[in-house]
Structure formats: structure tokens, C-alpha cells
Amino acid sequence: MSRLAVDGLSLRFGGLEALAGISLDIAEHALYAVIGPNGAGKTSFFNCLTGYYRPSAGTVSLDGRDITRMAVPDVAALGIRRTFQNVRVFPRLSAHENVLAGAHLRSSASLLGTLLGTPAMRRAERALADEAQRWLEYVGLADKSRVLAADLPYGMRKRLEVARALMGQPSVLLLDEPAAGVSSVEREELVAVIRRTWESGVTVVMIEHDVELVMQLATRVAVLQRGRLLVEGSPEDVRSDQRVVDAYLGRRRG
């Protein structure tokens, strides 16, 4: 059964066609990779899935429910979480507070409970704080919980963003270039985190430039080129597809 079904998705900015009629199904518990050259429309695709962009045509549905025109927070409420290509952590909050912010939809704090600091309230807050710490450990940032996000190096900020997304208990996690710009050691850790998350039952969709990483992780791969779906299939199929080789390496002349 497909979790995310995309049908005829198109997105136009004036005369520019960022996405042109993309249709694909992302199965329950897939580790789905979207690859393609720069400007292929990968991030635009993510923005359409999460409500940041209103597609010009086509539909996106989650478990059969149309989410095409939903606002960003409503899409989040259905269990879709994402990270951003240009890491968007909250700079002047500590790592721990960043992760806690991801729990917004999970806590049901009443105003009165907050003001009075009722025992139930405190217990709930305590539990969330502990869980946030566990997610920091999960991505290998246990000792950074009190450091301001702005003071963390790039690779750590990327992992912090993943922890924040996971705090929201997503059923679908969208990762926009999780391994871009991180060191090879950190890359290994990231791969481990992604794999573990996927194994725990989360459907993972990732945009990635690193083809090797995609082949190593993904169960299913879609290749975009100039806003169109070029190929979709298993990593083996995609790797050997002549059109993909052409798109990435260029066609042999003559």
C-alpha cells in the first residue's frame, strides 16, 4: 500500500516549469531516494509535499487523503516531518530546546496548567525533556544539549535538525540532502541514523546527491531531470539505466 501518492504534480513559477507532471507512489515503510542534477526540481518537489508550495496542478495524498492544498502546520499534524537543504535550526536556542520545539504537536498544555505548574504538567514536561535528550543521544549529540545551535559546527546542526524532526514522532520523514557538506566520519554516523530510523518503521524519503550513499541505503529510487520523472525503480535498475547515466555523465559523442 502506498503512503504518499503523487499524481501529475506540476509547479510553475511564471514561465519556469519547476515540476512537470510527476507521478509516483512511495510505499509504506520505503526508504525512498530522490536524485537528480542541480535544478532538477527535487527541493521544489519536497516543498510541494509539505505544503510550502501550492502545486499548479496535480495532487499529493497521504494514506489516501488529499493533502495538496493543506497549510504547512496541517501537513505536519498528519505526521510528515522534514529537514531543510540549507539547515534551518533555531540559532539562538540550545540544542535541547531545538529538539523540544519539535514536540509542539505532542504536548497538550493548558494555559492554567502552565501558569500554575501543576504536577501533571511538570511530569509531562519532564518526560518531553528526557525524550528530547534521548533523541540528541540518538544522533550523537548527547553532550551538546546546552550548546546554542548557532555555535554547533555544520554537520552537527544537520544532525540536530534530524533529531528535531524525530521528536515530532513522524510517520514519514523527508530529508533534504542529509549528507551534503558533512565529513566522511559524520556521513557514516548519518547513514546509521537514517537506517535505524527507517528500521524503526518510519517511511523515509530523502533527496541526495551522493549516488553511492543512495545505492547503499535506498529501497527505491526516483531520478528527476528538469522537473520530469526520468526513471523510477530499484537502485540496481536505476544504476544500470542508460538514461540516468546520460543525465549524470553526459552522452557519449558520435
Partner: protein, 338 residues
């Protein structure tokens, strides 16, 4: 560790504040102290809007005015006790917050500042021109605050009343800061678009910030009216709004302790500089500019006083200089510095 130190400093300040009336200060000092407390209350209110939710608000005095005038009207014309006038004052302020908030919260930064500025001006113009609010003369003869059998009539008395109010506001600010509501505000301040991805309904929470601010502002206004017996439009103009914004930014945007310190600086410095006579506001201005240049993050920012960080920077600088010296020695062929 930094948190413990902040708490210690705060406790010491509280102890000093609590015994101030007992130290036999004159009326002059006590009335300045009351003014500081009032500004502290307003600062804590504006802190929800500017500090937590990150929206510039240049018309905050409007809520202060709504509180003061509601209390003035109800207590003088209808002889309500002061405490009973607070709920309707808060209600009116909440209405005002929704009125200005709903249509404008889709605006960002500069535009929002202009609209809030306009709202502040409108409220001041309205109370200046309505006969019911006493026009330019305002309202006088506001009765003293009664709490049970206790009637507060002296400066010292109001000093204590506002001290309690400051403490309550501080406690509420801290509670809210570390709750779902506060975290949503901070996320919006840090990055509105990303906050949405956590499921935060940005416009709704921005409205909440206005409402929270208006509650603090109007309660302060209610008690202000009672403390000063008479109220008049000039106390609620753009200057007052600006003073609150100034205190927030000097102290450190979003910082509770910083805001309190900022209120103290903004009220006390012009008094301290009285020896410069006519030039005192000039000196005050220069001091403000110096503070913002030397400490743009505020005197006491949210992230703490920064003593640990300063020590780290110094250590790093020393370390780097040490390395540089070592490098020079190496270059000169010296194996090891003595």
C-alpha cells in the same frame, strides 16, 4: 552553573528591593523606584511580543492606557473598587489585542511596527478627544487600592504592590518561557517558516503573544491609575512605548533579567545625570548608544551574562598568542620556548 549564578544575583537583588522602603529613603527615591517597577511590568509584557515572538511593537503603551482608563472610568464614575476594575480592563485590552492583531499579523517586521505605532497613536488620540475620558485633562481622583481591609495610600505601599506584581510577572514569564507556548513563540522568532514545519500555527501564536502582552500591560495600567491618582493622555503616547522597547533592547531582547535591568537603566540614568542639568538627556543618549555599540546583544542577554564565554574567549586569545609566539620561535630556529 550560569543559571545558578543568575538565580543568586536575582535573589540578592530581590532582597535589596524588599528592604528598600525600610532604609528610610526619601519620597524622591521611592517614587523613582515605583516608576522603575512600573516600567519593569510593562517590559515583561512587551517581552512576550518582542522578546519571545520576535515582533517589533511600537504601540505597547496602548494596552497600558486601556488598563489605566478602564480603571479610572469604572472607579471614579461607577465607584468600583480598584481590584474589581482589573478584569474588565484586561478584557478590554484583550479585545484591543485581537483588534490590532487579527488583520495585521500576516505582516512582517517593519510593516508590523508601523501598524502597531498607529494603534498606539489611535488610542492616545481617542482618550484625548473623548469627553467621557476627560479629554486632555484625563481623569483625576482615582481612589486608592484596597486589598481586604488594607488601603494603600503611600509611596512605600505602592512600591510594595508593584514589587509583588513584578515578581508575579517574572514567575509567569519563566513558566511560559519553558512551556509549549513559549517554545512555539521562540521558534517563530527564530524562523517562522521552519516553525510551521513543526506544526506551529504561526499566526495564531503571534496573536497569543499580543494577548499575553496586553494582559500584563493593562494590569499594570490599572494599578498605575490608582497609584498616581490622576491619569492623562501624555503618559500613554509614543514616548512611553519607545521607553518600553528601549528597556527591552538595552537589557537584552527576550531576557527576563535583562529586561528588568533595562527598565532600571532607562528610568534611573536620566535621574543620575541630573548633575548635567540641561545636557542630561544628551548624556543619556550617548550612554545608550555606547551600551548598544559595546553590547549589541543587551546588557544581560537571554544566554546569560556571558561571563563563561568571555573567559573562554580570553583563554582562546591567550592560547592563540602562545601559539603565535611558539611559531615565531620555531621559525627562528628555537626548539622550545624557555
Amino acid at each position: 552553573m550560569a543559571r545558578n549564578r543568575s538565580a543568586l544575583i536575582a535573589l540578592a537583588a530581590l532582597a535589596a528591593a524588599a528592604i528598600l522602603p525600610e532604609t528610610g529613603q526619601g519620597n524622591y527615591v521611592m517614587s523613582i523606584a515605583v516608576q522603575i517597577e512600573i516600567l519593569m511590568c510593562l517590559v515583561l509584557g512587551l517581552n512576550f511580543v518582542v522578546g519571545y515572538a520576535g515582533m517589533l511593537d511600537l504601540g505597547f503603551a496602548a494596552f497600558f492606557a486601556i488598563g489605566a482608563y478602564m480603571t479610572g472610568l469604572l472607579s471614579v464614575d461607577l465607584h468600583w473598587p480598584i481590584l474589581a476594575t482589573i478584569p474588565p480592563a484586561v478584557g478590554a485590552a484583550l479585545l484591543g489585542a485581537v483588534f490590532v492583531g487579527l488583520p495585521t499579523l500576516r505582516l512582517r517586521s517593519d510593516y508590523l511596527a508601523v501598524v502597531t505605532l498607529g494603534f498606539g497613536e489611535i488610542i492616545q488620540e481617542v482618550v484625548t478627544n473623548l469627553n467621557q475620558t476627560g479629554g486632555p485633562e484625563g481623569i483625576s481622583g482615582i481612589p486608592p487600592l484596597r486589598i481586604g481591609g488594607l488601603v494603600v495610600t503611600t509611596n512605600d505601599g505602592y512600591y510594595n504592590v508593584f514589587l509583588v506584581l513584578v515578581l508575579v510577572f517574572v514567575a509567569v514569564s519563566f513558566r511560559v518561557r519553558h512551556s509549549r507556548l513559549g517554545r512555539a513563540w521562540l521558534a517563530i522568532r527564530e524562523d517562522e517558516d521552519t516553525a510551521q514545519a513543526m506544526g506551529i500555527k504561526v499566526r495564531r501564536f503571534k496573536l497569543y503573544a499580543y494577548m499575553a502582552g496586553s494582559v500584563f500591560g493593562s494590569i499594570t495600567g490599572s494599578l498605575y491609575g490608582s497609584a498616581f491618582i490622576a491619569i492623562a493622555p501624555p503618559s500613554f503616547g509614543f514616548n512611553e512605548s519607545l521607553l518600553v522597547v528601549m528597556a527591552v533592547s538595552i537589557g537584552g531582547i527576550g531576557s527576563i533579567w535583562g529586561g528588568l535591568l533595562g527598565a532600571g537603566i532607562v528610568v534611573a540614568f536620566p535621574e543620575v545625570f541630573r548633575q548635567f542639568a540641561q545636557a542630561r538627556l544628551l548624556v543619556f543618549g550617548v550612554v545608550l548608544v555606547l551600551i548598544m555599540v559595546l553590547r549589541p546583544q543587551g546588557v544581560w542577554p537571554e544566554t546569560g551574562l556571558g561571563l563563561d564565554r568571555a573567559a573562554r574567549v580570553v583563554a582562546q586569545f591567550r592560547g592563540r598568542r602562545g601559539e603565535a609566539v611558539a611559531a615565531r620561535h620555531r621559525a627562528a630556529g628555537v626548539e622550545r620556548t624557555p
